[in-house]
């Protein structure tokens, strides 16, 4: 047809070729790259491909010590679930527990020993060998003075705690500190003061019918949240026909506050007054008929509800009603934590709360306060917990040049101590810092030698949960996968060091597994002194993931002498003048970040905050009326300034917070700890004033006054939620308590007819 000459033809071919090439490239770029599967020539024997192997272990994400079952496939950990046999969590697990997989497979993990090559804190670490790292450390340790070595570790229990004790003993240093930001120092001190008890009791939320919580966020991060959640669920609808009632008293609604039937706002630090006035009413109305009723009446005489009402902001009528309900419910339980515990009068507050338990007679009873027997081992760890006062002493010692070597193990005081503590500056004065952490966090960034530990899923340890569940429980944390990198179990590192330092007499073991086997042999001998069958016992403990002993506290616990007369709550102190700093800052532990350790786990960054649905950020919550007065809405960036520092965060209007309180979640604001955590949000701990509770030395986290100033800029709040009002659509429906007891509730759709199998009786829908 058309006359096509040579040139034309070549042009067409060229154009066609280019077109075809472009199309081909496009198709290739859409496709995924080809991956090749190469089978093993000699398959490994530890697993069968396609069949999962489960290992029981202990969760290391928070101090609760839940038992976990880890599903592994082909040697890789795939899913962490709760161990159904473990009495603490009974097969359940919280969100942070699941994220342990992302600790194991985190891209920012330390892969082997390293040495700081540049200036301290410059993050110029270079790889080295274990031999080199251990030798350096051992040399410095050997050269140190008595009490010149500080061992700062995250809270550990069980035989690892014992090992640390032995090690420090051999190093002639008494400075073994377990440092956890969220450790309940005030609760320990309160139990000591009121009951003379060294350990924490078991709070039986499961069987209680009335829980009065003074600031304790028991469902999220108070003591053992999974266990308490189980208890909460059971108390609600696990007891036939009787539904537990939960009352929460705190300045800002926490998750436990949202779950509660009644949320009562009270000024931070005044919860103790409230508790004392409730106690006053209980005694005055004759609900308490113990022998020491007279003493109680005398001690509580000054604490009328009227007085408490003016101090706390809670009305007299409410206080009287609470007293009545609390006394009548059987059993009732009172717990304290949060702003009540972490204040300058924290111990006083918690003593008052614990007194309530005594007055309603729930000590040692189901649904009440059950004291724990001694843990089978590792009890020394309780006394090694470092409070703020201890850490201040560390800082002073560092400044005075008294510290030669600081060993840090998976704890991050450079992040979780206020700037006013001077910890970061003090570290500069310590000649040698060795870190056993698995990640480069703010504290490890300042180290000279890095000897990375295995994560808890790769190494050997054990745990006796504290507080216990009323009887001794122990579990072994075993490796569930082969170690990914050239790290070593923390215990093994300590054993290697002690080997190099020649402590072989006192510390004869060569591996942590041997330490455990030795220790558990002694536990085995407690219960069943039949020689020779230890191996099957060991195997049983590992396979089931838990061990327990049916031993309860036989002795009845009494009030410590002088505790009743000394029943008083001092005025809470707040740092800063109310004129300059009109708001009280209430930092709270985030459910996903905990104390900041969850910030490098992408699952936790993506988990929307339960109350606000915000992800990947920090924010300041303020009361809607206050926000309107200041002309602020969601997303307005403000500076939060205290007497000791200033940070920036966007505002979130929060309906359930007191008008003069602002709250911020803890956990973000890292400048180390990996790609997911760095340079994101702000850390409210930084600007806390160094106020402490003189009775316990605990940092008063809710005792700092702050000022808010709009910056005029806006920040993007990344939220997964949209409009958080139902607008009358009946999405979350409620019913009155009477209807829940068997009256028919309207099903607003065509009912599903239950189809039955064979011979069962047909039930109507």
């Amino acid at each position: 047809m058309a006359n096509v000459d040579r040139r034309e033809f070549l042009r067409l071919v060229g154009a066609g070729g280019v077109g075809a090439g472009a199309g081909f490239m496009l198709a290739e770029s859409i496709k995924h790259p080809v991956e090749y599967l190469i089978p093993y020539p000699v398959p490994p024997e530890e697993f069968s491909p396609g069949i999962a192997t489960w290992y029981n272990s202990v969760c290391g994400m928070c101090p609760a010590g839940c038992g976990i079952s880890v599903r592994t496939r082909e040697g890789r950990a795939k899913k962490i679930e709760g161990n159904p046999l473990h009495p603490v969590n009974q097969g359940k697990l919280c969100a942070l527990g699941h994220a342990g997989l992302q600790v194991l497979y985190n891209p920012d993990r330390l892969t082997g020993p390293m040495i700081q090559n540049g200036e301290r804190g410059a993050d110029e670490f270079v790889k080295t060998t274990w031999e080199d790292g251990l030798s350096r450390t051992a040399d410095r340790l050997a050269a140190a003075r008595q009490d010149g070595i500080y061992f700062l570790t995250q809270g550990v229990r069980g035989h690892l705690a014992n090992l640390f004790e032995l090690f420090m003993g051999e190093l002639s240093s008494d400075r073994l500190l377990h440092y956890d930001f969220a450790h309940p120092h005030a609760l320990y001190a309160a139990n000591k003061r009121l009951f003379g008890e060294h350990q924490l009791p078991y709070y039986d939320i499961r069987n209680t019918r009335y829980l009065l919580s003074f600031g304790a966020d028991y469902l999220t991060n108070w003591l053992s949240p999974v266990h308490h959640s189980l208890g909460f669920g059971h108390s609600r609808h696990g007891n036939d026909g009787v539904r537990g009632r939960f009352v929460q008293i705190e300045p800002r609604m926490s998750i436990s506050g949202a779950a509660a039937d009644e949320w009562i706002p009270a000024r931070p630090g005044t919860e103790g007054f409230l508790a004392l006035s409730v106690a006053h009413r209980i005694v005055a109305d004759g609900h308490y008929e113990g022998d020491d009723a007279g003493e109680w009446r005398k001690a509580l005489s000054a604490w009328s509800p009227g007085r408490a009402a003016s101090l706390t902001g809670v009305s007299e009528a409410t206080i009287s009603r609470l007293a009545r309900e609390f006394a009548r419910a059987d059993p009732a339980l009172a717990i304290g934590g949060g702003a009540a515990a972490n204040h300058t009068n924290g111990v006083d507050n918690l003593v008052a709360v614990s007194a309530l338990n005594y007055l309603v007679g729930n000590i040692g009873k189901p649904g009440g306060v059950v004291f724990n027997p001694e843990p089978v081992t590792g009890a020394s760890a309780i006394d090694r917990q470092a409070n703020y006062r201890t850490m201040q002493k560390l800082v002073e010692d560092a400044r005075d040049g008294k510290i030669d070597v600081l060993i840090v193990n998976n704890t991050n005081p450079a992040f979780s101590l206020p700037l006013a503590s001077g910890f970061r500056e003090a570290m500069a004065a310590i000649p040698t810092i060795v870190s056993l952490s698995s990640f480069i966090d703010e504290t490890t960034l300042m180290a000279d030698v890095l000897l990375p530990s295995h994560t808890y899923l790769e190494g050997w340890a054990d745990d006796m949960p504290e507080p216990g569940v009323g009887f001794p429980v122990g579990a072994i944390s075993q490796p569930v996968v082969a170690p990914l990198y050239n790290s070593r179990s923390t215990g093994d590192i300590v054993l290697d060091l002690s080997g190099k330092l020649g402590f072989n007499e006192a510390i004869p073991w060569t591996s942590m597994e041997d330490v455990l086997k030795d220790g558990w042999r002694r536990i085995y001998e407690r219960g069943a002194p039949e020689p020779g069958d230890f191996d099957s016992f060991w195997r049983d403990v590992l396979v089931s993931g838990v061990w327990g002993e049916n031993v309860r506290r036989g002795d009845s616990v009494t009030i410590a002498p002088g505790a009743i007369e000394g029943m008083a709550v001092s005025e809470p102190r707040l740092a800063g003048e109310s004129g300059d700093y009109p708001f009280i800052l209430h930092p709270y532990l985030s459910s996903s970040m905990y104390d900041g350790r969850g910030a490098n786990l992408p699952w936790m960054q993506e988990l929307p905050d339960p109350m606000t649905s915000i992800v990947y950020g920090t924010w300041v919550e303020m009361n809607p009326v206050t926000a309107k007065e200041m002309g602020l809405t969601d997303g307005d960036l403000v500076t939060v300034t205290s007497g000791t520092g200033s940070i920036e965060a966007p505002v979130v209007v929060f309906p359930a917070i007191m008008p003069d309180v602002v709250a911020m979640p803890i956990g973000q604001g890292h400048d180390a700890l990996g790609r997911y955590a760095r340079n994101r949000g702000a850390n409210p701990i930084e600007i806390l004033a160094p106020e402490t509770d003189s009775a316990s030395g605990n940092l008063a986290t809710s005792a700092t006054r702050v000022a808010l100033a709009p910056t005029g800029r806006r920040a993007t709040l990344v939220k997964t939620g949209g409009e958080s009002r139902q607008l009358g659509r009946g999405i979350v429906q409620s019913t009155g308590s009477r209807s829940s007891r068997g009256h028919s509730a309207k099903l607003n759709s065509i009912p599903i007819v239950v189809e039955v199998a064979e011979s069962a009786v047909v039930e109507s829908a």
Binding site: L26, G722, E723, L727, G728
Partner: protein
């Protein structure tokens, strides 16, 4: 320019049309070049980027999973109703004024449908599997889901596309023949092929007329059904704001409305740049203007209905929808739409306005912008405010999406420009039917008039 008084001759029409096909000025090449360039740069290039990156290149999110791509799709389908109305409906009512314009209008239909089809491809998450929506025997032994309104779409639009292409082709055969007889070279060959050996005998004319009317009658129900089916993509959901029985008539009215406005735009361009001033006159604009006015009033009525029923229902879901539409994030767009489609067309009441060319052009473009906004708002405001308030979101189109909208218009222009040089854009034989038979010596008067 010739005045209306001078009588047009048959030869004039032939000359004008053939000249429009054969004589190509520099301006045409520039226009075509620009159109092709914009199509490549603003449509294909961003689309290929989206194929590589994923639908995330658009601004869609959860739950506003539909965005401008579907709004464009519906807009272009709507625009395609222009040809149907002019070609078929007005043919059956025997209106004379449509004769000069209907060919281009039909072409608009065809090309709108083609552009709409490409918008579907752009919209899909995995467009390389689009053939699964077509029922063909396959190894997987799977049919597509015939219950799905989207599949009704596939069927309806395919039918419409097929029908319209046959219709426009068949109606152009005599014109191809006429042009064939007056061109040489490669054009002659092309038109010989296209005219299928048309000789202009009485039998052929008779058959053509019959077939043409038959197809016209067949295509009219399509005009109603196609856009109703497209509206059912929305109306068959249970999402508040989309689940409305008024949608089928609403969309059909909207389609005819935007289609007619599109015709006005195209007619203006054709008239000005192809020298068709004698054929496309004030009369045409006047009639189109009247049509537009009626449709605008209908459209306004339906919108008021929607507002009323939403408010009257008293349910939170409908009420929040309305509130959001009128006063929410997209409120400026909503009021712009009301202005362009509801208020501005009231100017068409004035005779003078209807017969002024440039104001009509401006209004028609405004109406189409308003109609596009309407399609966009249907999607954006309803998906942003569904049943569960916690899933309320805002959707902002991304640069890729906006670029593709521009590119789709450019694609349409490209296709139309190519059309104008291949098909006679004014129907020669139908325009002749509007003219008096030329007076010849010795023929009595009564034999020359119809």
């Amino acid at each position: 320019m010739q005045t209306e008084e001078k009588q047009l001759q048959f030869t004039d029409i032939h000359d004008d049309v053939v000249r429009s096909l054969v004589v190509t000025g520099r301006n045409y090449y520039i226009a075509l070049g620009c159109a092709i360039f914009v199509t490549l740069a603003c449509f294909f290039f961003p689309w290929f980027y989206q194929l590589y990156y994923g639908i995330g290149a658009a601004g869609v999110n959860s739950p506003t999973v539909w965005g401008t791509y579907l709004a464009s799709f519906i807009f272009w389908i709507g625009l395609s109703h222009s040809g149907t109305l002019l070609s078929c409906v007005l043919h059956i009512t025997n209106s004379q004024w449509r004769k000069a314009m209907y060919r281009s209008a039909e072409a608009m239909t065809l090309f709108s449908l083609m552009v709409a089809a490409t918008m579907v491809m752009v919209h899909l998450g995995r467009p390389w599997f689009i053939h699964w929506a077509v029922p063909y025997p396959n190894q997987m032994e799977l049919w597509p889901n015939f219950r799905s309104p989207l599949l009704f779409d596939v069927m309806a639009i395919t039918t419409y596309l097929t029908g319209s292409s046959i219709f426009i082709y068949m109606g152009s055969i005599p014109d191809f023949a006429a042009v064939r007889d007056r061109t040489t070279g490669w054009r002659h060959h092309m038109y010989t092929l296209l005219s299928l050996g048309w000789r202009g005998t009485d039998t052929e004319w008779h058959r053509l007329g019959w077939a043409y009317t038959f197809l016209a009658v067949l295509i009219i129900p399509l005009a109603v059904s196609v856009h109703s089916i497209v509206s059912w993509d929305f109306a068959m959901s249970i999402v508040p704001g989309l689940h409305q029985t008024i949608f089928a008539p609403y969309f059909v009215v909207g389609a005819i409305y935007s289609g007619t406005a599109g015709i006005v735009t195209v007619m203006f361009v054709l008239r000005k740049y192809m020298n068709f001033e004698q054929y496309i006159t004030k009369l045409h604009f006047d009639n189109l203007g009247k049509l537009l006015l009626v449709l605008s009033l209908l459209w306004s009525y339906i919108n008021i209905l929607e507002l009323f029923t939403g408010w009257y229902s008293g349910t939170s879901t409908e009420y929040e929808q309305l509130k959001y539409k009128l006063f929410g994030f997209y409120a400026p767009l909503y009021w712009e739409m009301i202005l362009f489609c509801g208020v501005a067309p009231l100017l068409l009441i004035s005779n003078k306005f209807r017969t002024s060319f440039v104001p009509m052009l401006a209004l028609s473009i405004a109406i189409n912008i308003g109609m596009y906004t309407e399609r966009f708002l249907i999607i954006a405001t309803t998906l942003s405010r569904q049943y569960l308030p916690e899933s309320w979101r805002v959707y902002v189109p991304s640069v890729v999406e906006l670029s593709i909208i521009v590119g789709s218009v450019a694609m349409f222009v490209t296709l139309f420009l190519i059309f104008v040089k291949i098909f006679p854009s004014v129907s020669i034989y139908e325009v002749k039917e509007t003219m008096k038979i030329p007076k010849r010596e010795g023929v009595p008067e009564w034999q020359t008039t119809h």
